[in-house]
């Protein structure tokens, strides 16, 4: 009897070894009722926005993800985000959005910024990493840029002192700096990241960026397991271009974060593939990682050649945020496989495919 059970056990071990290549995440134990569909507000936006959000809708349907979208039409030229949209986001707590185009110098404040301020989405996160199969000039890039989203240079407080002289206020408060620093270290802690770098220009703006650095240093003391260092923003950009592998998580005030995130996205493959989102205490809005105001050229919209990868990866982040990890994993794996194969690529990655072809390829690769 024991000999037979021994061979049975051996067979079992052999079989499980063979199926180990396909990882099965069995550790997520949901609460009863977690699988009921969640509502997510969807804002297609301008330019390439509707194309890429449509891509996400198609993929979600193919996966039978427990999500349904409440779509609202918002244009960048509107003066305010409509009240019903805000209501919906407040109810659902999660939103997925394409880009909203801001008219340049037109006197209309950016709707992207408005949304962030009203919902108090104080942290903007962009994850820049090398996708296997996508050749770039830099290797080993895996940077997360966490950027303060509400104050700093983008406070929007400008006025004309006398004709020909304009002032703009950059406001830094301890409250906001502290909470962004806390978020950055918490993110590093929960995602097993080893280093947090604060980006600043405190040698010139001693009081403003000095206050930001002070807050970062205080929070760093509470996380002794995470290395903390500081770097001046111009040196930071130079290092990003020369040796990006030295950076892990970066926490920055508003303006520098914008530049650093776009630079990091550029070296890792472009804004067409980097996921990101904005998060606050109560709400989260997921969108294309960097350059949310860039809605692409008209030619791309006409020919349907927008790159949906960024928004697809952002929606995977959203699925994890909503605690549907296996759907997120499936989506990410499918997208990464499509990229690494290299057959279906849109124009910004050097290929000729349309958005729809990429979406079909991703759906085909879903398990």
């Amino acid at each position: 009897m024991s000999r037979r059970s021994l061979t049975l056990l051996k067979n079992l071990a052999r079989n499980s070894n063979a199926s180990c290549i396909q990882t099965r995440s069995v550790t997520y134990m949901p609460r009863p009722g977690d699988g009921s569909p969640r509502a997510v507000t969807l804002i297609p936006g301008d330019g390439i926005g509707p194309l890429v959000t449509n891509a996400v809708e198609q993929v979600m349907e193919a996966m039978h993800a427990p999500i349904y979208f409440e779509k609202y039409d918002v244009q960048g030229e509107m003066s305010r985000v409509p009240a019903e949209v805000m209501e919906s986001i407040r109810k659902n707590k999660v939103c997925l959005k394409g880009g909203l185009k801001t008219p340049v110098g037109g006197g209309v404040s950016s709707l992207n910024v408005q949304l962030r301020k009203e919902l108090d989405l104080f942290a903007s996160l962009v994850n820049c990493f090398n996708l296997p199969g996508l050749p770039t000039r830099h290797e080993n890039v895996d940077i997360v840029v966490i950027r303060e989203n509400t104050e700093g240079e983008y406070a929007g407080l400008e006025h004309e002192v006398v004709p020909g002289v304009v002032e703009s206020l950059k406001v830094i408060t301890k409250f906001c700096s502290e909470r962004i620093a806390k978020y950055a270290f918490e993110y590093a802690y929960l995602n097993n990241r080893k280093k947090v770098t604060a980006v600043h220009k405190a040698n010139i703006m001693k009081l403003a960026d000095g206050l930001f650095l002070e807050s970062c240093r205080e929070v760093a003391k509470k996380y002794p397991g995470i290395t903390y260092n500081e770097i001046i923003v111009d040196n930071c950009c130079m290092q990003l271009v020369a040796k990006p592998e030295q950076f892990d998580v970066m926490v920055t005030p508003n303006l520098y974060g914008n530049l650093v995130a776009n630079t990091a996205a550029g070296i890792a493959g472009g804004t067409g593939v980097m996921p990101g989102g904005n998060v606050g205490a109560d709400h989260a809005v997921f969108e294309q990682g960097a350059s949310a105001g860039n809605v692409g050229k008209d030619s791309i919209v006409r020919e349907n050649k927008a790159n949906p990868v960024a928004l697809l990866l952002s929606s995977a982040m959203m699925l994890r945020h909503l605690q549907f990890p296996s759907f997120a994993d499936r989506l990410e794996t499918a997208v990464k496989k499509v990229i690494s194969e290299g057959k279906c690529r849109t124009k910004d990655l050097g290929g000729q495919s349309t958005t729809q072809e990429v979406v079909d390829a991703v759906i085909a690769k879903l398990e």
């Binding site: 000039r137 830094i172 703006m205 111009d234 020369a242 996205a265 960097a290």
Partner: protein
């Protein structure tokens, strides 16, 4: 050199025996490291008698004291500053650049007239000469004085910072096709230094943009593009968020763009600009931007081509003042060890020469530097080599066939050979003709002596 073997009279006789060409004689005399008064007079007499000869006049212009030498201020700086300044002086003298340097150093105490460590005399010198070259300066730590760079900027009213960034052939980075110029407004913007604490925990910092400063820097940008044959000027901004401030900057740029219809003008949002720079830097030509963006973008571009050790820079002030500077630090850890890389200061000196319209010498020195780096045999430690500063400088000097007046390029091999031995530039010229040809061509006393002396026969 030969002049240590023969007297001056004998040398002149010898030269005249070798060639009837007066320009050859004059050029050979130029090769002497120290022009004596007699040699100068002799050369002038020769040139005067054949004044229709264009080669003669061009040679005369190159070395005769009919060109008044220009006085320029030099701040060697701290740390590695003096070594690289020495290198610059050597290269400039060898190339025949008519500049007399007025050196000024940062003093050890604060001058009350300028409230900083730079003396009033130094600033007056730059104002008078209108042109200067500055090495790296380390601001002493302490309170109660302005930083040195800030002092220079405010006192000399340096409103534009120009930084050309181009890939150096021979020094491989991840980017090969960078060829752009960043022009940054240097006086206002986010670096006005106006900050205050409103209440505890709330700090405000003012960013100021004025029409006057924006117009000034836009004018300079387009003027620079036109004089250097550039086709496109891009204004970098964030006017979709900072509508009034960057909007004013853009308005001024547009106004100036209308006056230069042959130059294409475009506006790029700064986040797009960053992304495009790291993906495809060949898309940009001339970039003009306010202070903060300029700081970040110009350092980013320096990173694309190899770092601050290779980047030249020039600050332009009112009344045509130009102060070229090396933007790297003073590197106190390698100071005095002859390991520093003088490339940044040399290239800044070239920018200074172009500003002075000494384009021929600027081009010669520039090519010599590029060729030395491209050759790859002599590189300082920061470029991955093991040469010392003096070795590197010598290597630039030996790319010195380029330093000959252009008339000499038409000389026969014999003439070139003797000229080379006369002046001491042996290696580069001698490489161009074989020793056998030397011996064949050498048919006179001087050449034989010279060839013997240099071990060729």
């Amino acid at each position: 050199t030969l002049r240590s073997v023969l007297t001056e009279e004998e040398t002149f006789t010898v030269l005249q025996n070798i060639s009837d060409s007066n320009s050859f004689v004059a050029a050979s005399l130029w090769c002497f490291e120290e022009m004596t008064m007699a040699a100068a007079t002799f050369a002038k007499r020769l040139i005067g008698s054949r004044s229709s000869s264009t080669t003669a006049t061009s040679v005369a212009r190159a070395f005769c004291s009919s060109t008044t030498p220009i006085t320029a201020t030099m701040f060697p700086g701290d740390g590695i500053g003096p070594e690289i300044a020495e290198s610059v002086k050597q290269v400039f003298t060898t190339a025949g650049v008519p500049i007399n340097w007025e050196e000024h150093y940062v003093s050890a105490e604060i001058d009350p007239r300028t409230q900083s460590f730079l003396t009033w005399e130094s600033l007056e010198s730059v104002r008078r000469n209108k042109v200067g070259l500055k090495g790296p300066m380390a601001t002493p730590i302490g309170k109660g004085h302005r930083s040195l760079n800030l002092t220079l900027r405010k006192e000399l009213n340096l409103y534009a910072n120009v930084r050309p960034c181009y890939s150096l052939p021979g020094y491989k980075t991840r980017y090969d096709d960078v060829n752009l110029i960043t022009i940054r407004e240097n006086t206002e913007g986010e670096y006005s230094g106006l900050e205050h604490q409103v209440v505890r925990g709330v700090v405000e910092s003012l960013k100021i943009i004025t029409r006057q400063a924006s117009l000034r820097v836009a004018e300079y940008a387009f003027h620079y593009a036109k004089t250097h044959g550039r086709e496109r000027v891009s204004a970098i901004h964030k006017a979709n968020i900072m509508q009034k401030t960057d909007g004013l900057f853009l308005k001024c740029c547009r106004e100036v763009a209308e006056k230069y219809p042959e130059i294409t003008y475009e506006e790029v949002v700064i986040d797009n600009c960053c992304m495009m720079l790291v993906k495809n830097p060949a898309l940009f030509d001339v970039l003009v931007m306010p202070n903060l963006y300029g700081d970040i973008i110009s350092d980013l571009c320096a990173g694309l081509v190899g770092g601050l050790g290779l980047t030249p820079s020039c600050n332009i002030g009112e009344d045509g003042v130009a102060l070229a500077e090396a933007v790297h630090g003073s590197a106190p850890d390698i100071a005095g060890k002859n390991l520093a890389n003088p490339t940044a200061l040399l290239l800044s000196g070239v920018m200074m020469l172009r500003h002075l319209k000494l384009n021929e010498q600027a081009e010669q020195i520039h090519s010599a530097i590029i060729n030395t780096i491209a050759e790859g045999k002599y590189r300082t430690a920061d470029l991955g080599g093991s040469s010392t500063t003096t070795d590197f400088t010598k290597a630039i000097l030996t790319h010195s066939s380029i330093f000959l007046p252009s008339s000499m390029k038409s000389f026969s091999p014999k003439e070139k050979l003797v000229t080379a031995f006369m002046g001491g530039f042996t290696s580069q010229l001698v490489k161009e003709i074989s020793i056998e040809e030397c011996v064949k061509e050498a048919g006179c006393y001087a050449s034989n002596v010279v060839l013997q002396r240099f071990g060729c026969i």
